[in-house]
Amino acid sequence: MGRKLLLDKAHIEGIRYYDTYRSNGGYTAAEKALKTLGPDGVLDEVKKSGLRGRGGAGFPTGMKWSFIAKPEGVPRYLVCNADESEPGTFKDRYLMEHIPHLLIEGLLISSFALGANSCYIYIRGEYAWIPEILEQAIAEAKNKGWLGKNILGTGYDLEIYVQRGAGAYICGEETALIESLEGKRGNPRIKPPFPAVKGLWQCPTVVNNVETLAAVVPIINIGGDEYIKFGTGKSTGTKLISACGNINKPGVYEIEMNISVEEFIFSDEYCGGIKNNKRLKACIPGGSSVPVLPANLLLKTAKGETRMMTYESLADGGFATGSMLGSGGFIVMDEDQCIVRNTLTFARFYHHESCGQCSPCREGTGWMKKVLHNIEYGKGKMSDIDLLWDIQRKIEGNTICPLGDAAAWPVAAAIRHFRDEFEWHVLNPDESQKRNYGIAHYADPIPVPAGA
C-alpha cells in the first residue's frame, strides 16, 4: 500500500466532525504552527517541503507565499480555490466532503503564515451542498477556539468565509476568481499586477488550491524534511488523483509520486484496469486541458523509459510526446472511444466557458468547435484538419489568460497523435457515423504539419 498523508484517516467513521478529527491528531499542526513555529517557521517548512501547487500549474507554494507584498496597514488575504471545474477533476470535492477540518486546519496555518486575517473559500456554485459542510466545520472550529479572535492566546485573529460561485469554469483562474469574489463578471485580469501585489480589493492576495492548502497540515506535522522523503525528485509528497473514464474503479486516490502510470491504471489498489477487459487506447492524465496521449506514449516515454506519476515524467518529451500532471484529473479511454468526439466535447466545453474578453479565445474556441462538429458528423474536409491546427496555433499564447492555451492544447494533441483517426472520419463520412475507429496503430507519433 502506498503511503498517505491526506486521506490516511478519511475512512474513519465521523472524521467529518470536529471531535473525531481532533481525537485522531487533528489541529496538532495548527497548534505547532501558532505556538512554536511562528509565521516564518511555517514558511520555512513549506519551502523545505518542495510542495507544488495542486491546482494545475505546479508552482512552488513556498515561493508563491514569499512573493506576497507586505505594505504597512494594508490587509492581506488568503483565497482558497475550490472552483474545481476542469473536466476530469473531482478531488477537491472529495476532500471537502470527507475531511473538511483538514482544509480548515490548512487554511488556519497558511493564513497565519501569510498574516491574513480573513480567508475566503471560493467554491464552485454547483457543489451546492458542500458550503454547509464547510460552514459547519468552521462553526465547530470557531467554537473550540481555532478561529475568531486571539486564537490560542497568540493574539492572532482569523475568520474563514465560504463563497459560492455560480457556474463558470473561468473563475478557477485566480484573477477571474478574485473578480468574481468582488461581485463581478469572471473576467481574468490583465497581469501585471499579480495578486501577490494587487489581488482581492487591490490588496496583496495569495490564491491556492484546496489540496495545496490541505497538504500544509502534514507538512507541518512531519516537517518539510520528512515530506520530501515522499515522492520523487521535485515531485515531493503525495497527490490526489481523480480517476475516471473506462476503468474498473473510478474514484479519488492519493498516490505517492513514485509509482508508474501502468501501476496506477492496472493495479487493484488504484484504477483496477480497463473496464470490460477492453484495451487501453488513450489517456488524458491531468485534466482536460493537458495533451491526450496514446497508450504507447502513456506507459513509456519516447525514450523508452517507464512513465511515472510525477510532474517531470508525465511532462517528459514536452508536448511532442509528453503531457502534464496538471490538476490530477486522470481520464482513461478504452478501444471503443472516439478521439474526434471526445475532442469535440472539450472544444465545446472551452467555447462554453470562454469569458469572451479577448478575441482569439472568444472567436477561436467557437470556430474550433464548429469545425470539429463537422468532422465528427461526417461533413468534414481534409483541409479542416490543417485548419484546426492553424486555429489552435493562433489561439495558443496569444490570449489574456491560459484558458486559450487550455482550449488549444487538447485539439493540438488529438491531431498530433491521432491524425489518422481524423482523416478516417473525413474519408468515411457514413461509416464513421456507425462505428468507431477503434484502437489505432499509433506506435509512433504521427507527423504533423509545420509549426508543431
Binding site: 463558470a168 463578471r185 490583465i190 467555447h351 462554453h352 466557458e353 470562454s354 469569458c355 469572451g356 474578453q357 479577448c358 478575441s359 482569439p360 472568444r362 472567436e363 477561436g364 474556441t365 467557437g366 470556430w367 464548429k370 485548419l387 493562433k394 499564447g397 496569444n398 490570449t399 489574456i400
Partner: protein
C-alpha cells in the same frame, strides 16, 4: 541641482527611443511613430483600465531588459506591458508577430458582418483599416455569422451589435465620464454583447462620447442627418461657449455646404478623442450659426478618409526594408487601388461647397 529623471532606453524594431519609466511599449512606439506603432483596437489612452483585450497590439520582447536580457516566452500586449531599461522589442520585424496579428484580425472579422457598404462608420473604421493592413485576403470561416437584433439605445445612439469587437471602450467611457453607467457587457464568450438588458435609452450628459470611442460602427450617431458617406463631408474645426463646465466645446463639424450633418469630438492621429464633448454640443447644435468655425480640419490618420495624407504612409521608408532584411512589409494596403471614391490626390477640405461623387472621378487630363 535639477534632478535628472532616469530614462529607460528601449529599442523597437531596431529604432532606439528613451522613455520615462512606466511607459508602455505601445506608447514608446508612438513616440517613434510611423510603421513601428502596433495597431490598437481596444486600448485608449484616456480611458483607465482599457487595453489588453483585442490582442492586435501583440509584440515580441526579444530582450527583457539590460538586467535580465532573457526574451519573454510569449508575445505580449504592447498596450499593457511597460518597458524596462534596455528592452528590445520586435513588432513588424518579427514574422511571428505579423503572423499572430493576422490571426487576431481573422478572429476579429470572423463574425463581423462585413457590411461596410451600408455602415456609417465606413471610411473611419479602425477595423477596416486594420484588415486592409494586416488581414488575409479571404476568410476561411464557413459558418453562419453570429447575429444580434439591432437596437437603438435611445433616440440618439444606435447599436449594431454584429459589428462590435468587445473592446469595452464604451463601458469604460460610461464608467469614467458619466454619472452612472446604464449599459454594459451581457452574456459571456462569443455570446457576450453590449446592451442595457431592459432599459433601452442611455441618457447622460456625456454618453454620446461612446460613439467617438467606438473603433467600429457598432455605436453610431442616430442624429447624423441622413445616410452620408463621411468622405463626402467636409470636416471643419469649430467651437462654442458651452455652458457645461466639463465640456470643452471644441469639436469637428462635418459639413456639406452650410449644413451641419454631424458633430464629433476632435481626434488625434491615433483616432483618440482629444477632449470629450457633451451631448448638447454633439446632438443639439446642428446649425452653422451655433458655432464659430475655425477652419478646415486635417485628418491625420492613415484612414481611408484621410485622402491626401494617406499615400505617404503607403510607401514604406527604405530603412524599413532594411530592418526587414529585404522582406517587403505587408503593412499598408493601398485602398485607393480598391476604391473609386478615395482618390489620394483629392483633399476634401479644399473642395468648394458640397463634395459630389463627381469630384472623385479621376479627370483624365
Amino acid at each position: 541641482m535639477a534632478e535628472d529623471k532616469k530614462m529607460f532606453k528601449v529599442k523597437i524594431d531596431n529604432i532606439s527611443v528613451e522613455v520615462e519609466p512606466g511607459t508602455t511599449i505601445l506608447n514608446a512606439a508612438r513616440l517613434i511613430g510611423g510603421e513601428v506603432v502596433p495597431p490598437a483596437m481596444c486600448y485608449y489612452s484616456k480611458l483607465e483600465g482599457s487595453g489588453g483585450k483585442c490582442r492586435t497590439c501583440l509584440v515580441k520582447v526579444t530582450k527583457g531588459s539590460e538586467a535580465d536580457p532573457r526574451p519573454m516566452p510569449k508575445l505580449v500586449a504592447s498596450c499593457r506591458t511597460t518597458v524596462m531599461d534596455g528592452m528590445e522589442v520586435a513588432n513588424i520585424t518579427s514574422p511571428e508577430v505579423l503572423d499572430a496579428r493576422k490571426g487576431v484580425v481573422e478572429f476579429l472579422l470572423l463574425n463581423h458582418p462585413l457590411d461596410c457598404p451600408i455602415c456609417d462608420q465606413a471610411g473611419e473604421c479602425h477595423l477596416q483599416d486594420l484588415s486592409y493592413e494586416h488581414g488575409a485576403d479571404a476568410t476561411r470561416y464557413e459558418f453562419k455569422r453570429r447575429t444580434f437584433d439591432k437596437v437603438d439605445l435611445g433616440d440618439k445612439i444606435k447599436l449594431h451589435m454584429t459589428r462590435c469587437i468587445l473592446c469595452y471602450r464604451c463601458v469604460f467611457t460610461a464608467d469614467q465620464l458619466t454619472e452612472k453607467r446604464e449599459h454594459g457587457v451581457l452574456g459571456r464568450g462569443d455570446a457576450a454583447e453590449i446592451g442595457t438588458y431592459i432599459k433601452q435609452s442611455l441618457d447622460n450628459d456625456f454618453i454620446g462620447n461612446v460613439i467617438d470611442v467606438c473603433p467600429v460602427g457598432a455605436l453610431t450617431d442616430n442624429t447624423f442627418r441622413f445616410k452620408n458617406r463621411v468622405w463626402f463631408l467636409k470636416p471643419v474645426d469649430a467651437h462654442r461657449n458651452c455652458s457645461n463646465p466639463k465640456c470643452c466645446g471644441k469639436v469637428v463639424l462635418w459639413m456639406r455646404g452650410d449644413e451641419v450633418f454631424r458633430v464629433t469630438a476632435r481626434k488625434d492621429k491615433y483616432g483618440e478623442v482629444e477632449n470629450f464633448i457633451c451631448d448638447e454640443c454633439r446632438f443639439e447644435k446642428k446649425e452653422k450659426s451655433d458655432w464659430t468655425i475655425e477652419g478646415p480640419r486635417k485628418i491625420d490618420r492613415h484612414s481611408v478618409i484621410s485622402q491626401g495624407h494617406y499615400v505617404n504612409t503607403v510607401k514604406p521608408k527604405d530603412a524599413l526594408v532594411e530592418v526587414l532584411d529585404g522582406r517587403q512589409p505587408k503593412l499598408l494596403f493601398d485602398i485607393h487601388s480598391e476604391s473609386q471614391v478615395n482618390r489620394p490626390e483629392i483633399d476634401l477640405s479644399k473642395i468648394d461647397g458640397p463634395a459630389h461623387s463627381d469630384d472623385f472621378i479621376i479627370k483624365k487630363s
